[in-house]
Subunit: 305 residues, 2 copies
């Protein structure tokens, strides 16, 4: 495989990252956008070489941005997680799909008097609150059960104007009924998905169902399709570009998923680097049925250049 960089486009085969083309990539990029699960960490374990790579990039003046579809944490909580792992990352450098959901509602001028029902975890509720919206559901509905008795009505708030669905490891029938009733019965109620990742590395040893599982469940009961705010939707990139004035051609998206990370980068016109530390294997990448080809792929970070 050649070591030269070519602007390979979506269909050309990916190049293995070599010391030489890594150098070329490094020189041509001003900002590196990193996915987190399967790229920076798996569960609570850092992936080998990450701290050194991030430190090297910062020391060379590269802008670092962390773009994660995992909605269980807010930006503040992600910043704490980075700190607990010995890496200093500010909230401003983090773009999580929990934040994207709140920013989407802000962008469309979602009425402040309406409420937002959450099938998801703490991160979404915290970001909604920070953006001035009233969230319902989430963790506090995690232990609720349903009463299916004659004449017993399942009560839900008629002022819910949006249902946000993300990864929810406390998913239950109560929340599914609540969200379904709001979307089906409250006129104009929005159905917003943080993302549709099938699975993710929530622990270092295994993959687990992702937000795609909960989002599909709500599609199944409502027969509606959601507005997706996380990767590969361009919403997060548009927001990011408003903040950082860097041309997307000077950005490189680094991720472990073809259908979210790499597609997100390609949709925006960024360079793309697939890391094989997460959900994508080399055989998936090279399978003829795969039509998403990153510019480069690597099984390990180069700690020095």
């Amino acid at each position: 495989m050649s070591g030269q960089i070519e602007n390979s486009g979506a269909k050309a085969a990916s190049q293995l990252l070599s010391p030489q083309n890594a150098r070329d990539l490094f020189d041509s990029v001003d900002a590196f956008l990193f996915d987190c699960d399967g790229v920076i960490w798996k569960g609570d374990k850092l992936i080998d070489g990450v701290p050194q790579t991030l430190e090297m990039l910062r020391s060379k003046g590269k802008k670092l941005v962390f773009v994660t579809n995992n909605s269980t944490k807010s930006r503040r909580q992600y910043s704490e997680k980075f700190r607990s792992l010995g890496i200093a990352v500010s909230e401003d450098e983090i773009f999580s799909s929990s934040f994207a959901a709140a920013m989407y509602l802000k962008a469309i001028d979602f009425p402040r008097e309406k409420k937002v029902y959450v099938i998801g975890e703490e991160g979404i509720l915290e970001e909604l609150e920070l953006a001035g919206f009233t969230g319902l559901g989430g963790p506090e509905d995690g232990k609720k059960t349903v009463q299916m008795k004659p004449n017993c009505l399942f009560e839900y708030d008629k002022s819910v104007g949006a249902v946000v669905v993300g990864l929810d490891t406390y998913i239950n029938y109560y929340k599914l009924q609540y969200g379904t009733l709001c979307i089906r019965e409250n006129p104009g109620c929005l159905f917003i998905a943080t993302n549709r990742d099938a699975v993710g590395h929530w622990t270092d040893s295994q993959e687990w169902p992702g937000a795609g599982c909960m989002v599909a469940a709500v599609c199944g009961s409502t027969e509606k399709e959601p507005i997706v705010v996380g990767k590969p939707s361009t919403f997060m990139m548009d927001f990011l570009l408003q903040k950082f004035h860097i041309s997307t051609s000077k950005m490189c998206m680094v991720g472990d998923r073809l259908d979210t990370d790499i597609l997100f980068g390609q949709n925006a016109g960024c360079r793309t680097l697939l890391v094989l530390s997460g959900v994508t294997t080399i055989s998936t990448l090279q399978d003829p049925s795969n039509h998403i080809q990153p510019d480069h792929y690597t099984s390990k970070f180069f700690k020095k250049l």
Copy 2:
């Protein structure tokens, strides 16, 4: 609207059932196939006119069959439910999707030494056991939670060769992870759906998420499509025809759902009657976007003819 019966086909507009065309339908049909939820009952309440209609049909020598996509009960449990509501129906007259799942495994000679993981309720497990298969999961996994700690592996049975997904009002992340791992990791593991109904009348006052919700969740996490054994799949009809030697042109499918009941009847060449006592409204039936037209529709049963 004309009172005459025409073999209207899928696209011709439905006729409102009148005393006259009800008489003609009655004379030309030997067996009536009834859906249950939204047709016979809503929750634990019989729908008005049902006992008298069933009694009248039996007294005239019509064969009655009950074909339900609701997998929460076994045939034995459905027979008990009918009895508790004052209607005598034998197990042989009941075709539930729980039974269909077990019969499907029998039909394909599913190996007896393999196990079946169930995301669903008691009915599926009981039918699997009656058919000689080993079921896992179901209600006993309803209170299990997941441990997402470093190095902690989610254990699952490598001998699971099929995952059956049906309506599960105790759905949780444990079951979703269990079923997902089996389908993704156990070579050749089947993904079987009892049905894909979006919602159903599990209580008289409201609709609730149906099996389509849980099935979609597993599609979302596995990125695979299931084998469907309930309506509108023809599997249940093929099985029913083996048992009752009646031509499908002499059968009438009576149901409340266009995309399951009516489609199921039409796929098999049966006459079809939509009742408006369940999930389908007259406006849904007559909406230009609806392409499934039953031969007849009615908002109430004719207790006498």
